[in-house]
Symmetry: C2
């Protein structure tokens, strides 16, 4: 139907997550009709990112230098590690400017349904950090999903025998949220986690 290079571009886009065949066609025709320089910018950004970005050997974040900027920064609190599922969650906490410790990126959560066990995650790397450096607290900041909770629990059981404090970020009503529209589990968690004023 389409010429060969167009078909190949559509197929390449369609392989990306959340992009179906129709969206892939729309993207392909958009890119083809871009000025050549702008299309090349996209292609080069892909090549550049793929060739320079790697896992930080300490926290497993994706970065273009190793150790990454955060692990290299001696001004951060070197005794606290926040464990997150992926680099985007880490970026979300960095945007708060309220957390000054280190991170550890698991690159996923335990999910027996999808055959993701501890060996598929960066858990051995986390264990090594705890054993080799003076970490006092590990904050589990995986998402509040079934898998996220299970992963936090697994890490807690793994690390507590090593004498390290393991905490979990609080669950509760989101700021600006409306109680009426918050689900029962969150309401219960918010009640359980109440603090004295």
């Amino acid at each position: 139907m389409y010429s060969e290079p167009v078909t190949q571009l559509i197929e390449a886009f369609a392989k990306l997550p959340g992009i179906g065949n129709k969206s892939a066609q729309r993207l392909a025709f958009h890119v083809i009709q871009l000025p050549k320089e702008r299309a090349e910018t996209l292609a080069n950004a892909i090549l550049q990112a793929v060739h320079t970005v790697q896992y930080c050997s300490i926290c497993c974040n994706l970065a273009d230098n190793d150790p990454c900027t955060i692990c290299q920064n001696s001004k951060r609190d070197l005794h606290t590690i926040m464990v997150v599922e992926d680099p985007r969650d880490m970026a979300a906490y960095e945007r708060t400017r309220e957390y000054h410790g280190l991170y550890h990126v698991l690159h996923g959560v335990l999910s027996p349904m999808n055959s993701v066990g501890p060996n598929e995650l960066k858990i051995a790397e986390l264990l090594k950090r705890i054993q080799e450096t003076s970490i006092e607290e590990v904050i589990t900041a995986t998402n509040p999903t079934v898998e996220g909770e299970a992963t936090a629990m697994y890490i807690s059981r793994l690390l507590k025998p090593l004498g390290v404090k393991v905490t979990r970020i609080a669950h509760g009503i989101p700021v600006g949220g409306d109680l009426e529209f918050v689900d029962e589990v969150t309401l219960t968690r918010a009640l359980e986690g109440r603090v004295e004023l």
Copy 2:
């Protein structure tokens, strides 16, 4: 927040139509974590398409050869042109295997709101084809939107004085559709366009 190559890739994805900042982040991290060869396939597909695909000098379709395969095919009905908005509409009609004439791709529709006039579309090229070749019928197959209808009307007024028959694809109830859920305008069009059995 992210390292420079990651930020650049996110920004390049976010410039694509229908891709917001969150989707761009998701795509960028997906691509970065792909095997290098697969990411290169995507980048190369973009470069390949941008460098080889061009407008067919006859029908203005996007193709990697000029004239395009359809315009080169002497077995097609050379006296009929179907005018479509973009290459995807052309591909949709090719999939029916029921149309054997030629095409003309406008690359848009008349839209004064978006400053798209006849000069922004491939209308001069259409006029030239009518004048230089023996076209008997022009089928306007623009979408049944306000702009699509206006564009079909404009082309009709432009070409009729040249003695060419100008037709419009039929509007009506989609096959498999349910009358109950079809809008009034379509129902009226279907009634007007009724054919004897």
